[in-house]
């Protein structure tokens, strides 16, 4: 009975999950048929003209996520080194606990702070360049950096602290300082876990919707003149998630092509994030290498 119930419920879950993935694939078919690979490379999105190019949104997503990671990673790794290598006992638990709580703050609250504080700070910061508003890709990136900071920190700490204490003791016994032990013993061994922490943090940054939605400006068809041009960073933009969270989703329903394009964006986002997550997990399997 227990066995039967276990299998039934589990299989049902599996069917639901796979069914959802399949649904995304099927529903997006009209868009793929209409635009082909142009869906990925097209830089123009005008649904009334049936033009669906996702590239500006992919660009926005990547800019925001990479900004977030670039800002958060040094701070996160520093904090993780401190909690794993310097702090011990209760102090360690207290700091780690605080950081884990930070990870639990709802994204809408981060978004609110973004709207009311960060947006103005960024506006003032950018004022020499005469920005239109504080709603920019940069604002989204900074806000995301704060949001993924705890995730990356706690994952990095887990992998640093996973290096056996005996190795630290042995290296300290040889006369190495704490910093030297960290650099020669701990970090090299924890490296895959640190990379995984970055990838999982990146995954979270790519998939975050609400907070970015509130501060990114949501301007369509922002495409840089040359690929590494910094200009669009200080301007409003659109990411995959903010497009999917916008009211255009309601308009799209009913027109199979437009809806297909929206679902295509969701599929694109899904494959980006799940790809990163799975790569991260391959590098540092949860619960140790043997799990």
């Amino acid at each position: 009975m227990t066995r039967w119930l276990t299998w039934t419920l589990s299989l049902l879950t599996g069917v639901v999950v796979l069914g959802s993935a399949l649904l995304l694939l099927l529903e997006s078919l009209p868009a793929w048929r209409h635009s082909g690979l142009g869906f990925l490379t097209g830089t123009r999105w005008f649904f009334r003209a049936s033009e669906f190019g996702a590239a500006p949104m992919v660009y926005g997503t990547l800019v925001v996520a990479v900004l977030a990671l670039g800002l958060a990673a040094p701070l996160a790794f520093g904090a993780a080194l401190f909690t794993a290598e310097v702090l011990r006992g209760r102090a360690r638990l207290a700091v780690k606990g605080t950081i884990e709580l930070l990870a639990g703050i709802p994204s809408v609250v981060y978004g609110l702070l973004g709207v009311l504080l960060l947006r103005d700070w960024i506006y003032r910061l950018l004022s020499p360049f005469d920005p239109l508003s504080g709603d920019t890709l940069l604002t989204g990136g900074v806000l995301l950096a704060v949001m993924i900071l705890p995730t990356v920190t706690t994952l990095a700490d887990d992998s640093l602290a996973g290096v056996p204490a005996g190795q630290r003791r042995a290296a300290r016994g040889l006369g190495l300082t704490r910093a030297e032990v960290a650099a020669t013993v701990v970090v090299p061994q924890a490296a895959p876990g640190l990379v995984a922490a970055l990838l999982l943090g990146l995954g979270r940054a790519l998939g975050e919707t609400i907070a970015v939605f509130l501060v990114v400006g949501r301007r369509d068809n922002q495409w840089p003149e040359w690929l590494l041009s910094p200009k669009p960073i200080a301007e409003a933009g659109q990411t995959l998630t903010t497009k999917l969270g916008g009211s255009e989703v309601w308009i799209a329903w009913g027109d199979p092509l437009h809806w297909g394009a929206i679902v295509g964006l969701a599929l694109l986002l899904l494959s980006l994030v799940v790809g990163l997550t799975v790569t991260g997990l391959r590098l540092a399997p949860p619960g140790g290498r043997d799990a």
């Binding site: 056996p164 005996g166 042995a170 016994g173 006369g175 190495l176």
Partner: protein, 282 residues
């Protein structure tokens, strides 16, 4: 019973080099006390470690032998919740002095643990591990350092042709000698050994014990052991740690040949499984 123990130790003739002149004191503890939170767990009123010889520390498990050892090179500071007060001196410098750099100190006082700890990487890398980062000798001298240290640890003949192989390929006994080589490469004045043979088979144990005797000619060794036989085989002097009211107390060292004077310590040591003379109650 106690008489028997004393006679046996006298008759087994341990390898004691009879000192003609008063030997130099390398390491000394005075009124040392280790506390966990507020409660004392180990007291060492007086302990002297003489140069060039093996000083044994014996006692039942849990009495604080390893804790005592870690006090000597301040590795105790890595244990959360423990605090140390009192004096430890290494050749006249205060180990816990405000201006003493613990890292420098640990270069001079090497340590070998119960379980060998090898780092990921090759055998050669393991030998050089401390040296490379602490002393930073020029790269061309590395092979010489590796060979010298491995020879001193009697491991050279077994690994000469596979220095680049991962250290994890070695047996536990070999790993322990590799750890010894790693410590020896730093040319420490004092080597602390925390039951270095407890995880080894009899053959490896014998090899390590022989090594300890040879090393004692040039180094000062403090050996923690729970095996009275081993103490008789290897040590010159012996100090006993035993539990009194839950606190480990270190008695001053005495020549191993004369046996343990303190009856409490004798009883504690005799109670250790494997010690000859232990009364087995049927």
């Amino acid at each position: 019973m106690a008489e028997a123990l004393r006679q046996r130790s006298a008759s087994s003739e341990p390898i004691v080099s009879a000192a003609t002149t008063e030997p130099r004191i390398v390491l000394s503890c005075n009124d040392l006390e280790v506390r966990a939170g507020g409660t004392p767990i180990l007291r060492c009123p007086e302990l002297e470690v003489r140069a060039h010889g093996v000083t044994g520390v014996i006692g039942p498990s849990g009495a604080g032998k390893s804790t005592l050892l870690k006090c000597l090179n301040r590795l105790i500071e890595l244990e959360p919740g423990l605090s140390v007060r009192g004096r430890v001196e290494l050749d006249g410098t205060a180990v816990y002095g405000r201006r003493t750099d613990p890292a420098r100190l640990r270069e001079r006082i090497g340590i070998l643990f119960q379980q060998p700890v090898v780092f990921p990487g090759s055998i050669a890398r393991n030998v050089l591990f401390g040296l490379r980062w602490v002393r930073r000798p020029p790269r061309r001298t590395w092979p010489g350092h590796v060979q010298r240290a491995l020879r001193a640890a009697s491991l050279w003949d077994e690994v000469e042709y596979r220095l680049d192989r991962p250290a994890t390929e070695l047996s536990v006994g070999q790993r322990q000698r590799l750890c010894l080589a790693r410590t020896l490469a730093m040319e420490p004045e004092v080597i602390l050994m925390d039951e270095p043979t407890s995880s080894l088979d009899p053959a490896s144990t014998e090899a390590i014990e022989g090594l300890i005797r040879r090393l004692a000619e040039r180094h000062t060794i403090v050996l923690v052991t729970h095996d009275m036989d081993q103490a008789r085989r290897v040590t010159d002097r012996i100090a006993c740690v035993c539990l009194r009211d839950g606190v480990g107390v270190v008695a001053p060292s005495v020549p191993t040949a004369t046996g343990l004077p303190d009856p409490g310590c004798r009883r504690a040591v005799e109670a250790i499984p494997g010690t000859p003379g232990r009364r087995v109650i049927p």
